[in-house]
Subunit: 348 residues, 2 copies
DNA sequence: CTGAAAGCGCTAACAG
DNA sequence: CTGTTAGCGCTTTCAG
């Protein structure tokens, strides 16, 4: 058995340095405090010598303008709040990474709110206290109304990855309806006849559209989805996917293809087949949705639909920044095209 | 071919509401502004009626104190900066999730800086501008000195998951040295004789310690690590793990066991074996490190070392909060115990 | 218990 | 071009 090892180390004198203020700089540079401010905000109407004097003082005193004071004056914080929820779904870290990169390039900081842990109250408070200049919601559903309204009250909001009817904000998503349809047509054309689906709550527009597109196209092809081959999970995880697929595979007449409304589910489904020794793709095809990084791993080699994440993110952010700058045009509802990525989990 | 679908929608009148201030509340409640402030900061010296008057006005006007102003006065922002870097390694999203939960419970917001995208300058600026009350670094190495010094100047810093010699801050990690040793002893005891390792840069203390522990224990067991069975990768990803393992498996005398210094690498290695039809565990054992969620998936079923992430996080945060509150004791260097988790990638 | 008053550090008119 | 001045909205003495 281990014991907790706790080693205290080094003596310490810990002193937070007093920070220089713009007044200190002014005194040091022999100019007025407002000139310091001008230099720092990039105001061009400053004599070159004065500017250099100020800059020198800034360097010597390692001065940095105080963010809180600046935020108070300008009522701009430079923070963008990003609401995520299912960090366990690798799609969201991927998105977060792209968001972080784009936001920083645009000169903002990213404040992350993970609403799955707390109720949305924390985010709402932060917004009300004007801790952010704008917000991006990645997992909005009609259920998030409270958050949305709070946001909308103070700062612009942009939805990414989700569409919520009736919300008065910009929304950027990909064409999940067509995505679902493409999968259905692909499976039908390949001669699959017992086609199953693992779906989820239609509260999320992504899921709803994928399912609707899939169902609709199957029906249109004269091969309506059999309800016995259709399982719904309440949360999206490897485990729920595994369990749902297990149920389908235990049927006396199991499906010959399964469409999973997202990749995490599909990975679980793939393993449910693996555990039962069901060969992919000879006995069963599996299709996912999102093209998360793991979909391309050999263990899964998953056919899936790729969302244009980078483009979605860049679009969302530029929309948001426009709004922050005061743009008041009509709400944009942007829908970007997806792409079917064929891999080994279906015949190539 | 798809076309970009762009649908503008709904007319719009977008008006950011003017927020009520504490003066508005004071007027509405018929008290002075300072009384409002007292009520909101929880000052007990307020008459009950006055308090209720204020609270009523707050509710009616949907008032929330302005964060920037409050931050300026108190020089506390309520933000904690979290420095991460490899979001593509699932360990970090897992950590982020735990951190977010714990921080919010402690009344803080989490500002995430992903240093892999940008140089650390952004984080440094944010710190200097006092945008955070403290910071947690998850991926510190001796190379991060610039960031560390910047942080250290204004706000307390706590290292989690990494140890950097000589840094004057609290550090919380798990016992990676013992972890490496435990793996070595486990493999040796199982009779493995051609033991390989996929390692990485010893700049990160985690990696350095795991490797040192592993190497040391093998040597102590009279079975020193053969250099031909040792591959180093420069970054940690599925792909680099896959490639590194491929090299080992292509040797004329391939290893009968491989220790991967983290799970992401191990997942890649597992797939390198899978692709070659090498059966696990009969022909090859694989051991990882971290016990990320995927390690338990059937496709991988990976024996690994589990770090006590939750405990590490909670410890780090409480240490940080103490420092924020002004605690000036000696720097703590806390090392928590790990646990070997045996799964199917080694004989059970 | 409560109001008046003094700023926190900064930006942005407004006069020079 | 530059200094003076007036706050941003809040917390916190300091007198009542």
């Amino acid at each position: 058995m281990y014991k907790l090892l706790l080693i205290s180390k080094l003596m310490t004198t810990y002193s937070r340095n007093e920070m220089a203020t713009s007044h200190d700089i002014a005194r040091r540079a022999g100019v007025s405090q407002s000139t310091v401010s001008r230099v720092l905000t990039g105001n061009p109407k400053v004599r070159k010598e004065a500017r250099e004097l100020v800059l020198a003082a800034v360097r010597e005193l390692k001065y940095r303008p105080n963010g809180a004071a600046r935020a108070m004056r300008t009522s701009q914080t430079g923070n963008i709040g990003v609401v995520v929820s299912r960090l366990a779904n690798p799609l969201y870290p991927e998105m977060l990474q792209i968001l972080g990169r784009c936001l920083i390039r645009a000169g903002f900081r990213m404040v992350v709110w993970n609403t799955e842990e707390v109720d949305e109250k924390v985010a709402i408070d932060a917004i009300h206290e004007s801790r952010v200049d704008g917000a991006i919601m990645t997992t909005a559903t009609a259920d998030s109304t409270e958050l949305y309204e709070a946001l909308q009250l103070n700062v612009p909001v942009v939805l990414i990855n989700r569409v919520v009817e009736g919300w008065r904000c910009d929304q950027v998503a990909s064409d999940n309806l067509t995505g679902g349809r493409v999968v259905a047509e692909y499976l039908a054309k390949a001669g699959k006849r017992r086609i199953g689906m693992i779906g989820g709550s239609p509260l999320a527009s992504t899921i709803r559209d994928r399912q609707a597109g899939f169902r609709g196209a199957l029906a249109a092809g004269g091969l309506p989805l059999e309800e016995t081959l259709c399982v719904h999970v309440d949360t999206f995880s490897y485990k729920t996917g595994f369990d749902a697929a297990s149920r389908l595979l235990e049927l006396s007449e199991p499906p010959d293809a399964i469409f999973c409304v997202n990749d995490v589910i599909a990975l679980g489904a793939r393993d449910a087949a693996r555990v039962r020794g069901i060969d992919i793709p000879s006995r069963l095809w599996i299709v996912g949705y999102d093209d998360i990084e793991m979909a391309s791993w050999h263990a899964f080699d998953l056919t899936t639909i790729r969302q244009p994440l980078v483009q979605m993110t860049e679009t969302a952010i530029s929309l948001l920044i426009e709004r922050i700058r005061g743009h008041e045009g009509e709400w944009q509802n942007i829908c970007l095209p997806n792409e079917l990525v064929i891999r080994g989990s279906t015949g190539r």
